[in-house]
C-alpha cells in the first residue's frame, strides 16, 4: 500500500509548510479527487500558513474554499426550504449527515463538499412528506419501474427528489439502513433521542456518529470514502471533548440499536488512517473480531478509503474496491434478491455505455 500525502497533511496540516512544489502538485491532485480540496484549504488557513505558500497553490486552495462556501449557503437555504415545505404536515424532518452538520454548525461542515441533502421521517409519515415536497416544487427523478420498485420495496430511502427551481437533490429516508439488510437497526430509538432545534431535528451526537459510521462501512459508497472518514474524525474529536460520557454512551448505544460493527470499523480506521485521538479503552471495549476477518478488512479498507487517485493506488486497490462493492450489496439484501439485482445492473451498465458511445 502506498503512503498517501493527503493523509499526512490532514493529520498534521502545519507540516504542509515544508512541502516542495512537486509535493504540493500531488497534494492538490489527491485532495481534488477525494473531494477534500476545500477541507485542506480550511485546515491550512487554520494553522495560519496560507500566505506563505506559492501563488499557484494559494489560488487552488481559494478556489476550493469558494466552492464549499457557496455549498454551505446553499445547503443552509435548502434546509429552510425543506422545513417550510413540510410545515403544513406537522412533520418535523430529521436532517442527516451534511445537512445536519450545516444546520447545527458542526465541525465537519468546514470545507465540506455536498452532493445532496438527506432527511429522515418516520415510515408512517413517508407518503405525506413526499406528497408535501412534490406540492412544493420537488419532482421525482425519472426512473424505470424497476428502479422505483427497488427503492420503495427494499431501500431505506425513496428515489431521489429534485428541486425544480434549484436543481438540488433530496434523499428522503425512513431509516438508516435498508430493511432487507443483514444488520437490523432500531430506528424508533433514533427518533426518540433526536434533538429538536428550530422546527426540525438532528440526531443525538452518539446517533449521528453511528449513522455516519453505518453509511460509510455498510452502504458501500466508497467514492467519498476519505471525505466521510474525515467527517467521522471531526465528529469524534468534537463530541469526544464536548459531550460528557460520550465514549461510554456511544458504545452502549451502538449495542442498543444494533450498530456495534460499523462503530468498530469507524473507530479503528479513523484512528489508523487519520490518527484520531480515541481513548484506548474504547477500542478494547468493542467486540473482538476474528483476527482473520480483521486482517481481511484492513487489507481492503486501508486501500479503498484512500483518494481515488492513481498516486494512492497499488495493484490490489481495484480488487479491494470491487470486493467491498460486492460486500456492501451482500450486506444490503439477501441472496435471492441480490443475485438478480446485480445481474440486471451489470447488464444495464454494459448496454447503456454501448449506447452512449455509439454515434
Amino acid at each position: 500500500m502506498k503512503a498517501c500525502l493527503l493523509q499526512k497533511v490532514l493529520i498534521a496540516p502545519e507540516t504542509a509548510i515544508t512541502l516542495s512544489a512537486t509535493e504540493w502538485d500531488l497534494l492538490i491532485r489527491q485532495a481534488r479527487h477525494a473531494f477534500l480540496l476545500a477541507r485542506l484549504s480550511y485546515l491550512i488557513d487554520k494553522v495560519g500558513i496560507t500566505e506563505q505558500l506559492s501563488e499557484a497553490v494559494q489560488r487552488h486552495l481559494r478556489s476550493g474554499k469558494v466552492l464549499s462556501n457557496k455549498q454551505k449557503t446553499a445547503v443552509k437555504w435548502e434546509t429552510e426550504c425543506i422545513k417550510k415545505a413540510l410545515v403544513t404536515t406537522n412533520i418535523k424532518p430529521v436532517f442527516l449527515k451534511g445537512g445536519a452538520y450545516v444546520y447545527q454548525d458542526l465541525p465537519p461542515m468546514h470545507g465540506r463538499i455536498f452532493s445532496d441533502v438527506d432527511i429522515m421521517v418516520r415510515k408512517k409519515d413517508l407518503e405525506l412528506a413526499e406528497r408535501a415536497l412534490i406540492l412544493n416544487g420537488w419532482i421525482r427523478k425519472a426512473l424505470t419501474k424497476y428502479d422505483q420498485t427497488y427503492y420503495r420495496e427494499w431501500m431505506h430511502e425513496l428515489p431521489p427528489l429534485i428541486s425544480r427551481k434549484r436543481q438540488t437533490v433530496l434523499d428522503l429516508h425512513h431509516t438508516i439502513l435498508p430493511p432487507t439488510a443483514r444488520i437490523t437497526v432500531n430506528t424508533e430509538k433514533l427518533f426518540e433521542n433526536a434533538r429538536e432545534c428550530d422546527g426540525a431535528y438532528i440526531l443525538a451526537p452518539i446517533d449521528m456518529v453511528l449513522h455516519s459510521a453505518t453509511h460509510l462501512f455498510c452502504d458501500g459508497e466508497l467514492e467519498h470514502g476519505m471525505r466521510d472518514l474525515v467527517d467521522l474524525d471531526a465528529l469524534f474529536r468534537h463530541f469526544g471533548q464536548q459531550e460528557t460520557g460520550f465514549w461510554r454512551n456511544l458504545i452502549e448505544r451502538a449495542g442498543e440499536v444494533g450498530l456495534t460493527l460499523p462503530l468498530f470499523y469507524a473507530v479503528h480506521f479513523s484512528k489508523r488512517l487519520l490518527e484520531t485521538p480515541i481513548p484506548d479503552d474504547v477500542v478494547n471495549k468493542l467486540p473482538v473480531m476474528s483476527p482473520l476477518k480483521k486482517k481481511g478488512m484492513d487489507f481492503l479498507l486501508s486501500r479503498a478509503l484512500l483518494p481515488d487517485h492513481v498516486s494512492c493506488e497499488d495493484r490490489f486497490t481495484d480488487l479491494a474496491r470491487w470486493v467491498l462493492y460486492v460486500r456492501s450489496h451482500y450486506l444490503r439484501m439477501p441472496f435471492y434478491l441480490l443475485v438478480p439485482h446485480l445481474i440486471r445492473k451489470a447488464w444495464k451498465r454494459r448496454f447503456d455505455s454501448e449506447k452512449d458511445t455509439a454515434q
Binding site: 504540493w24 481534488r32 479527487h33 487552488h60 469558494v66 449557503t73
Partner: protein
C-alpha cells in the same frame, strides 16, 4: 525554452511520456496524448509558449486519449481526461486538437473560482482592457480575432478572468477559436495570421484556431484594468452602430454571461458592480470589420 525550440517529433515524444509541460498566462499545464494531430496543433499554434521543468507545480493534468482499445482502431474516438477524470463523452478522433482546446478551457472554468470568470473575449490597448461578452453567434470571435490581428493584445478570446482583489483582468492567452464563416473572413482579411487545420462537423460546426501573436503570449502575466465593456452583435448588411448601454442592464447581461458569478456570492456582486461602475459600457452592432476596427482604435486613442 519555447515550444518552437522542439521538433515535431520531440513534442510528440514528450506528449507520449506526459512530459510536455508549458505555461499559458498564469497556468501551467501538463499534456499527455498518443495522437500526432495534438503534437502538430501544439507545434503550429503554441510555438511561443514557455516550456517548464518537470519539478514545477502544475495546475492541470490533461490527457487527450482513446476511450478504450476498440475505439483506437474501429471508428476511432478520443476522450479528454483531467487527471483521470473524464467529464465528457468521446468525440471522433479527428477532433483531437479541438478537444484539447475545449479541455484546457474547461480546466480553468471549473477550477478557478478564486477569480470571477466571464464568458467573454478580452483584449487590450494602451494598458486598458476591452471586454466583449456575448452569447454564441454574436460575432464575438470574429471581432476579437480581428482586433488581435490588427494589433490589440489578446488576453483571451473565451474567458475573461477577473481578480477580485485588484479588479484587474488576468491574461490567459491562447489560440483564438474561429467557427464556420469567420475562418474565411479572418484568413482573407488578415492573410499574415496563421490559422491551424480545420475540424469539421464538431458540435459547433467547422472549427479552426488562429495563433495568438507572440507579444500577447509573452506578456501573459501583465494584468490590466477593465476600461470598456462592449456587447457586440454582428448583423449582415447593417450600419455600424455604437451606443451607450445602461449600467444596470450591463450588469444583468454580464451576469448571464458569467461562469461562476453565482458561486462567488457577495464577492461576485461587489466585484462586478465595481468593474461596471469603473468602465464605459456600450452596445455595438456591425457588419463591416474595417469600420469596427477604426471605431475601436479611435476610442482607445480618445482615451490618451
Amino acid at each position: 525554452m519555447l515550444i518552437s525550440d522542439l521538433s515535431l517529433d520531440e513534442i510528440f515524444q514528450r506528449l507520449k511520456r506526459s512530459e510536455l509541460r508549458f505555461q499559458a498566462g498564469i497556468y501551467t499545464i501538463c499534456v499527455y496524448s498518443p495522437y500526432k494531430v495534438v503534437a502538430e496543433g501544439l507545434k503550429n499554434l503554441y510555438q511561443d509558449y514557455h516550456l517548464v521543468d518537470l519539478d514545477t507545480f502544475c495546475d492541470f493534468y490533461l490527457a487527450v486519449k482513446s476511450p478504450g482499445l476498440v475505439r483506437r482502431w474501429f471508428r476511432p474516438q478520443v476522450v479528454f481526461s483531467h487527471d483521470g477524470f473524464s467529464p465528457f463523452k468521446p468525440l471522433p478522433a479527428d477532433h483531437a486538437f479541438a478537444l484539447f482546446e475545449w479541455a484546457f478551457n474547461w480546466c480553468v472554468g471549473n477550477h478557478a473560482h478564486n477569480f470571477l470568470l466571464l464568458h467573454a473575449a478580452v483584449v487590450e490597448k494602451n494598458g486598458k482592457a476591452l471586454v466583449l461578452p456575448a452569447p454564441p453567434g454574436s460575432g464575438k470571435s470574429t471581432l476579437s480575432a480581428s482586433l488581435v490581428a490588427h494589433g490589440w493584445r489578446l488576453l483571451s478570446d473565451e474567458l475573461t478572468i477577473i481578480d477580485p482583489d485588484t479588479l484587474l483582468a488576468v491574461p490567459f492567452p491562447r489560440p483564438v477559436s474561429l467557427k464556420n464563416y469567420s475562418i474565411d473572413v479572418i484568413s482573407v482579411r488578415f492573410p499574415d495570421m496563421y490559422i491551424g487545420r480545420k475540424s469539421y462537423d464538431t458540435t459547433k460546426g467547422t472549427v479552426a484556431h488562429m495563433r495568438a501573436p507572440t507579444d500577447s503570449v509573452f506578456r501573459g502575466s501583465e494584468r490590466v484594468p477593465i476600461r470598456w465593456i462592449v456587447f457586440p452583435k454582428y448583423e449582415a448588411g447593417s450600419e455600424t452602430k455604437f451606443e451607450t448601454k445602461e449600467k444596470g442592464q450591463t450588469l444583468i447581461e454580464t451576469i448571464e454571461n458569467s461562469f461562476n458569478y453565482d458561486l462567488l456570492g457577495r464577492v461576485g456582486f461587489d466585484v462586478l458592480t465595481q468593474v461596471i461602475q469603473d468602465a464605459n459600457c456600450y452596445r455595438f452592432q456591425y457588419s463591416n470589420i474595417d469600420e469596427a476596427l477604426q471605431l475601436f482604435d479611435s476610442i482607445a486613442e480618445g482615451e490618451q
